[in-house]
């Protein structure tokens, strides 16, 4: 039990360390800007004296280490700074959008995880049948499609031809839950399709690897039913790889959201990020990147921790 705790703590420390490294990189990115933030905010016409004064006001004349400490301290207090484009506090810009993006990712996860696991198990169970081959080929194709292609095909079919759903997902602030659900159905479907394919392939591979092992053969020879072999004998051992796959794909989901939000004009963080990159509004890009990167690291660390915790061999170390 002790060594398990140690492993888990190591992973958590590693996660925190990468979070720190990432924040340093994101902080340094601004330093690569030709000129600096003060120059960018005031524009080309500003006199050197104004820029210098403004720089002092922003604290840009302090040494980098102090500035980083200051920036990180403010960040931890929820103060993300001001947007270059419209001088509004970034926290205000991000607030509602963050919720929208997480709703989207959460809904997609709720749809895709059970579907992918079920399909993966079925494919492993009936492997090399026409059903398996069909699933595999369509999964391979879905993985290689660009997200916007999937998105536009769904729009073409469900919004334009069948006229069942709206083609853009602009959410009004006071929308009811049913309305939100209807509007985000197509983005959720797009995200799910892309993720399901990946997860299904990996679930199938993990299960098939296990089904070839001697103890499954033994169970089969004892005459245990197929379903019991899968759920009782194979699945617990496949849990660690499957958890890993799920977490990795959820992490992917958080990033994949960016493109899908742009296609459907969904008012989320991804759209804000893309707009800000086009406008070179660096503080907003910094804040958005930090949120995305932190979520990504959090999910990856959770995956590590869970797959360690679900491995019974580590509970009883030898010697």
């Amino acid at each position: 039990m002790n060594s398990l705790c140690k492993l888990l703590l190591q992973r958590l420390a590693l996660g925190l360390l990468s979070l720190f490294a990432v924040s340093v990189i994101i902080f340094l990115a601004v330093g690569m800007l030709p000129g600096d933030v003060a120059q960018a905010m005031l524009g080309q016409a500003a006199t050197p004296e104004t820029v210098a004064a403004f720089r002092a006001q922003l604290g840009l004349d302090l040494p980098p280490l102090t500035r980083f400490g200051h920036w990180a301290w403010q960040l931890l207090h929820g103060d993300l700074g001001l947007s270059l484009a419209n001088q509004r506090p970034i926290a205000e810009l991000i607030g509602a959008r963050l919720g929208n993006t997480f709703t989207l990712a959460l809904l997609a996860a709720l749809v895709s995880v059970p579907a992918a696991l079920l399909l993966g198990m079925l494919a492993a169970l009936y492997r090399n049948s026409w059903f398996d081959r069909l699933l595999n080929t369509s999964a391979l194709s879905a993985v290689s499609f660009p997200e916007f292609f999937v998105a536009y095909i769904l729009i073409l079919v469900f919004a334009v031809k069948l006229n069942w759903l709206p083609s853009i997902s602009n959410l009004a602030p006071g929308a009811s839950f049913a309305e939100v659900l209807e509007r985000s159905l197509l983005p959720v479907l797009t995200l799910s399709l892309v993720v399901i394919a990946q997860m299904m392939r990996m679930t199938r591979a993990a299960l098939i690897n296990l089904l070839a092992s001697p103890y499954i053969e033994m169970a089969r020879l004892k005459g245990i039913s197929q379903a019991r072999i899968i759920f009782h004998h194979a699945l617990p051992n496949a849990l660690a790889p499957i958890i890993n796959v799920v977490a990795l794909n959820l992490a992917y989901l958080v990033v994949g959201v960016v493109v899908v939000e742009v296609v459907f004009v969904y008012p989320g963080l991804g759209q804000l990020l893309v707009d800000s990159v086009a406008k070179r509004d660096i503080p907003v890009v910094q804040a958005c990147s930090l949120i995305f990167a932190a979520t990504y690291i959090l999910l990856n660390t959770t995956a590590d921790v869970l797959s360690i915790a679900s491995n019974p061999r580590l509970m009883h170390p030898k010697g």
């Binding site: 990468s18 990432v22 997200e147 292609f149 536009y152 493109v259 910094q286």
Partner: protein, 275 residues
Amino acid sequence: MSLIKPLLRAPLSAQFGLLVIVLYILVALFAPVLAPFGETEVVGEGFAPWGGQFLLGTDNLGRDMFSRLVYGARNTLGIAFLTTLLAFAVGGFCGLVAAIRGGWIDQGLSRLVDILMAIPQLIFALLILSVVGTNATSLVLVIALLDATRVFRLSRAVAMTVVVQDFVEAARLRGEGLWWLVSREVLPNAAAPLIAEFGLRFCFVFLFISALSFLGLGIQPPTADWGSMVRDNAVLITFGDISPLLPALAVALITVSVNFVVDWVLHKSSGLKEC
């Protein structure tokens, strides 16, 4: 003759994939011959319908859709190929050197890669592109750098299993230099998985560039490029016109094809038969 035989015995999906890849390369090479109009030439009204003078209609600015699709093959494929090549040159070389040299070079490079990989690729690319600005050169460099981390991981792992073998030890005792070890001892024995990875990485880079172009942050106008063509003409989809989907379909087709071929190559080289 020996090349044709395995091709005939390849599964249908792999044959299809190879055919498509060859077709794309031909289109990319002979783009000026195949395209009826110039790449950026405005030849008519915007959003002209299919047929007549314009095989697939015109785009939002009145440029011939078919010509731009043909030129797009050249631009998008070319940039993606260049990027992948660069990523492999940098990542592959560093990976091999890290495996051969070990010690602090290995530690330093590996930790650097760990940190770079902790940030989602798209987000990192957007962050850097917002600082250095969006143009083709920075696009290629940024994506190549990010992709080199993945190549580094693989080539290091593959090279690690080669480095411990006797013939490498013998070469070391002979006093061969680093370049000899990399190019004559380790690389030939690590080539097979790296080639398969090249196909997969190419797909990934291709999708990545298309996605960035689609977001308006990749290859910049007026260069014809499939991702931005979808973006420019997306309005038409709401009227039930499928021509904006053609460039997206072109992207999908080539990535599926490369994936089919890689799948087949991997299956063949592993000699693995699923039970």
